[in-house]
Amino acid sequence: GQQVQQSPPASLVLQEGENAELQCTYSTTLNSMQWFYQRPGGRLVSLLYSPSWAEQRGGRLTSSAASNESRSSLHISSSQITDSGTYLCAMGNTNAYKVIFGKGTHLHVLP
């Protein structure tokens, strides 16, 4: 079935100020991607949404995609301690009837 793989697969540790790149790859043709931050209590915060794989920017965040490689990336520039948490990517099929998530990457930003 359709699968979304995230990397780094479990966690990423950075020093404050470093840049981060998180990636998602998918196993079948999907039409849109969305990146979320999940707070420790579970609430999901939408970071970036990209229909048709267009690059998106928001503050220190940029999402980019290589649909021919079935891959999308989330770039976090100048990481801050408050960026620590779980980042999830989600990918949707053409009609958005099914939007599936990767397992997430836990980002730890150290002072």
Binding site: N31, S32, Q34, F36, G41, G42, R43, L44, S46, Y49, P51, L88, A90, G92, N95, A96, Y97, K98, V99, I100, F101, G102, K103, G104
Partner: protein
């Protein structure tokens, strides 16, 4: 941003009982979703509901599960009867164009 409300935030019930989880989606949204997340694990797609019908569902959407949205009221997930493995946080999401907005989740504990 747009708000999705979920009621209750936490429910504890005995195995075999029925439970209904309620979701108040964003007012002009057309697509509605339920997801299941066990603590520390992946966000799992359960079902998509559009135009009064289930459009997609996963293997996790067992026969004991049902969804409906009568007359534009709450979008509900009903589990009857519940099983121990149904204990999880259930997230509702809604969408107009494909970008998902999530509620804060309903934590279900089945004893």
């Amino acid at each position: 941003g747009p708000k999705v409300l979920q009621i209750p935030s936490h429910q504890i019930i005995d195995m075999g009982q029925m439970v209904t989880l309620n979701c108040d989606p964003v007012s002009n949204h057309l697509y509605f979703y339920w997801y299941k997340q066990i603590l520390g694990q992946q966000m799992e797609f359960l079902v998509n509901f559009y135009n009064g019908k289930v459009m997609e569902k996963s293997k996790l959407f067992k026969d004991q599960f049902s969804v409906e949205r009568p007359d534009g009221s709450y979008f509900t997930l009903k589990i009857q009867p519940t099983a121990l493995e149904d204990s999880a946080v259930y997230f509702c999401a809604s969408s107009f164009t494909g970008q998902l907005y999530f509620g804060e989740g309903s934590k279900l504990t089945v004893l």
